[in-house]
Symmetry: C3
Subunit: 454 residues, 3 copies
Amino acid sequence: MVWLKMPPRYTSSLRQTLPFLFLCFQILSLLIFMFLISSDYSYDQKYLQRYPEFQDINVMIILGFGFLFAFLKRFGFSAVGFSILLVAFGLQWAIILNAFLFGHKDGLRVISFTSLCTGLMSVLPALISFGAVLGKMNPVQLLMMTAFEMPVFTLNRYIMTKYLTIGDHISMMHAHIFGAYFGLSVSWLNSSPSQSTKANKEKENFETTSELFSMFGALFMWMFWPSYNSVLLQDLVQKSNAIYNTYFALAVSVVTVFSVSALVNQEGKLQMSHVRNGMLAGGVAVGYSAFMVQYPWITMTIGFLAGLTSSLSRTFFQRTLNKVSLVHDTCGVHYIFGLPGLLGGITYSLLIISADYNSIEILGYQAIVGIGCILLTLALSLVSGLITGFILKCKLFRPPSEHHFFQDQPFWEATLTRTPAATEATVFLFSPQSMHSEHLRPSKKPDILEENCG
Amino acid sequence: MVWLKMPPRYTSSLRQTLPFLFLCFQILSLLIFMFLISSDYSYDQKYLQRYPEFQDINVMIILGFGFLFAFLKRFGFSAVGFSILLVAFGLQWAIILNAFLFGHKDGLRVISFTSLCTGLMSVLPALISFGAVLGKMNPVQLLMMTAFEMPVFTLNRYIMTKYLTIGDHISMMHAHIFGAYFGLSVSWLNSSPSQSTKANKEKENFETTSELFSMFGALFMWMFWPSYNSVLLQDLVQKSNAIYNTYFALAVSVVTVFSVSALVNQEGKLQMSHVRNGMLAGGVAVGYSAFMVQYPWITMTIGFLAGLTSSLSRTFFQRTLNKVSLVHDTCGVHYIFGLPGLLGGITYSLLIISADYNSIEILGYQAIVGIGCILLTLALSLVSGLITGFILKCKLFRPPSEHHFFQDQPFWEATLTRTPAATEATVFLFSPQSMHSEHLRPSKKPDILEENCG
Amino acid sequence: MVWLKMPPRYTSSLRQTLPFLFLCFQILSLLIFMFLISSDYSYDQKYLQRYPEFQDINVMIILGFGFLFAFLKRFGFSAVGFSILLVAFGLQWAIILNAFLFGHKDGLRVISFTSLCTGLMSVLPALISFGAVLGKMNPVQLLMMTAFEMPVFTLNRYIMTKYLTIGDHISMMHAHIFGAYFGLSVSWLNSSPSQSTKANKEKENFETTSELFSMFGALFMWMFWPSYNSVLLQDLVQKSNAIYNTYFALAVSVVTVFSVSALVNQEGKLQMSHVRNGMLAGGVAVGYSAFMVQYPWITMTIGFLAGLTSSLSRTFFQRTLNKVSLVHDTCGVHYIFGLPGLLGGITYSLLIISADYNSIEILGYQAIVGIGCILLTLALSLVSGLITGFILKCKLFRPPSEHHFFQDQPFWEATLTRTPAATEATVFLFSPQSMHSEHLRPSKKPDILEENCG
């Protein structure tokens, strides 16, 4: 139980950086809102009608991601807590950035209800990147990562909408690719082969309760994905199509993932992590083209391919990658968001080429633009991710040492091991056997707690 | 711990059937959508307005049922995982069936956003039947059960709407009765008195965490039941009435169930399973008549009677049924959906007879039709359930043997017992006592794991 | 384990009171609805449009509060179960009271869809008060508390809207203050220094799973708070403002609470209970003024102050109060709802004074009325709380004795300690050591269970 002990220097250090950095960020954001941003409170019926969908996305991002990441048995508090922290900070930061780049109106930087919606959706890449480095960074590093990632992602969207003339919706769909590859680059620089100690591997093993919490987050994301793929669309026919098509793709990817999961296992058993991650792949892949497809079988095929890609790549890719230890991807965001996102982007371009130009008036030129957008996103995310990863290695942020990976203890007070009740019952159970069990209880147990809690 | 061991033949067998059957089903469904179904993507404002209610039903069916069934302490993965699987497959199958039977438009089989909503609601009987056989069937059997149940349920609805001229809404409300009695028939043929071994009974005992997950699913169903009882209604006055009345019935059934649960217990203690199941009975029973009742006290009375029926029948009926071992009903769907559904159907007919004909223009003849619908549903569900149950006994599907009942191990990889942390702590706690505890840990623990995971 | 034993007289007593009292209440409510209340089923488009927001509030109140209170590791069933019970009863009672005081129309007491929404929101103070006495009262006492609290709260709202001419929305926002101080008064009379035994303190310690369930409830409340702060507003511009401003305040209070939580801890560690409670403070405080503020930085400042108030007061206040043992506040409702509510009320008055009278036409006189409302609410809640607390001490209600505090066993059947699986595994693990462990299992374990379950 050596890995439970913490050098006192480490823990005291977060007290010196975390509160002040967070407060600075918060007050800075407040001041920017105070002096640099005007707000447009003129009423717009259209935006209020979007409110139920906004709430769906809210649930998806806050509850969905928070609990999806709660699958590490010793890292539940951090997964849920840091997710809401990143959303609360990232949202303000994204709204500011969007106001500066997109929100000009009569020479003023203006925000409105749409800014809230766009801001919330812009937090997505930060959360995806959090998934890749899950358990390997402290909250200060995570906040800095979000602070660096947001501007690049907003710039990416700005280039796409301004110079490549693609819509708000499609530009936002690149969040999946951006977040995944940014996170992988950061993770590449911040994890090393030496981290795969036996203790760390044990901490990455799953456990029933935490896996159910994670499934619960994944189900929320699954259910509300149609809202995510449709909320930014202005045209009501496109919106209705997007909802419809996304649901079909999601349903097909669930069935596909169950098949593949049983197929790749030697005993034909299913794996919860396959199912949980793979079932979201359909929604990611179909995001680009859901609004324009006219036949459900096309979206179903996309969902089928996404399910296959996600679960097969996870099975064969991750094992190889882990062996060569190039990149450690705790949550497997590469297989949930990265590859299905790429698949979706490519399918989008292919569909445009093969489209019936009478029904959808889009130029074949857009197919090339589609591929260009993917390449731009990949380039920007990888380069900025590497720079960010390099900065975050800095000792200033006091990154957690490897034996603190994947556990709540360095960041949260007194997280006892689950079920002290059970251990107590056990003591009681054995008390007739050992005569000195009564003084074992006060003398031994506190030691464990102390070690646990540093 | 004999029941944890599995013959290797068994586990390998699922690998031979599950993936291929699932993939076949999925590709078949894709081909049907490709060649036989046209889709109507013309925009309809009315359907998009229903989207928030559609999402409520989505949550109710996917999260609600999935977690409601997670009350078996060793069966959480299967409950949640197989629920989403059944929905994902059943939805496609139901949409196809609905398109063939109901969706004719200009000689084509047409689907639209309504098809998605109707399809999702048609999955309900399959999930209810899953509740009756919970823990006693493998995923291949469950998929086959859904495949057989859907056409009969759709046929049932077709006969009701076409020949008995009742509306979409009322015909859908028979899902509760259909699902419950279909499931009970299947369960009757697939469970035997010999399954009630001590080990199986232990596995059916509840545990705090799984019970809370289950309560959580039940609460989602409770909250969104008003949406379920109103979404298919076209008339906005009826819709508003249905929402209103359902909420009252649900509230009354909660209070009633708490009283009865304390009353029937010798020590006046409450039982979580009573509360969880009984509180839904009000929503089931009021589904038929919620849209037409004009006085809240009538719906409150229905909720009161439903609560009484559900909790009293569960207490006195189940004990007797278990003794005679006629039918084993794991989740008690008979008391949540079956009996309250019958109560609701009968009340509906009674209310029509006593209705004030000036305000609601319905003929007394409809009362007889109402009873006829119930009898038709009962007949179809029992007969088709028996046939399906007989087919599913077939060795081809490799049904799980009785000592594999109510546990995840045969289907999911390496579900460790909850809290390996606790056991570790215990080892540590006792280490001073036994000198050889250090080599106990590596030598003994893997054995357990091996046994657990087969 | 002496505190697990229960005198048989106690448990039998609930059987004599609980079922009959609950049934009486339910039948009484049914009779009132039958004879004294008319219902207005005339359709109103506006109310049906509110349905998605109504569902948000439904989720917030039922799931949110139920699981927020599930943080006590031995009190999960009661927290979730009694919450839904209080809502189901309180809702009917509140609708009746509202119909009698507010619902006159042509000489009749009329209810409609709005009554359902107002009724649901009126249950909030009862749930907040439940949080203050969490684990220290039996369900009969809780029901009586709700029965006494509702009329005073409705009277409070009646006086405010009728004589102080403030709107429905603002009058409802006083629910936070009312509920918190009512609950604290009741708790003051029903808890004593002697309750702080070692066993009770141990039961108040948290545990990972229950804390995650609690966080999950808190997140639902956080996400849907914008709906709560906007649903009663008629004007669509105000509604849209309220949604917008509430979200900003909530986001800022999250970041603030994280900073403060790390700052006040000696090792710079975060505390889950701080985060969980403090992040809601922003929503509470901004509720009063969200609809009228025109600049986001003002709401952000309110959120910032609310986060500071909540987490600092919790840290320094609660320690002192616990030492003097004046008031025991299990869930800390004083810091989630009480103080932030007061802050919000005062800010509201200050904002009115400093408002630009051209844009918002409100009189400076309203600022004084605002302060008057707070004082009225405080006075009514404290006085009625003290009277109710005094009545509830009565032996007739058989309050639980102090060694039954904070646990499910007196009220729920056979709640085993979490994870019997773990204890079993432990027995197995140690079996080679002790030769008689085989007969330990059948002989010793049932004893524990018996003790646990009384």
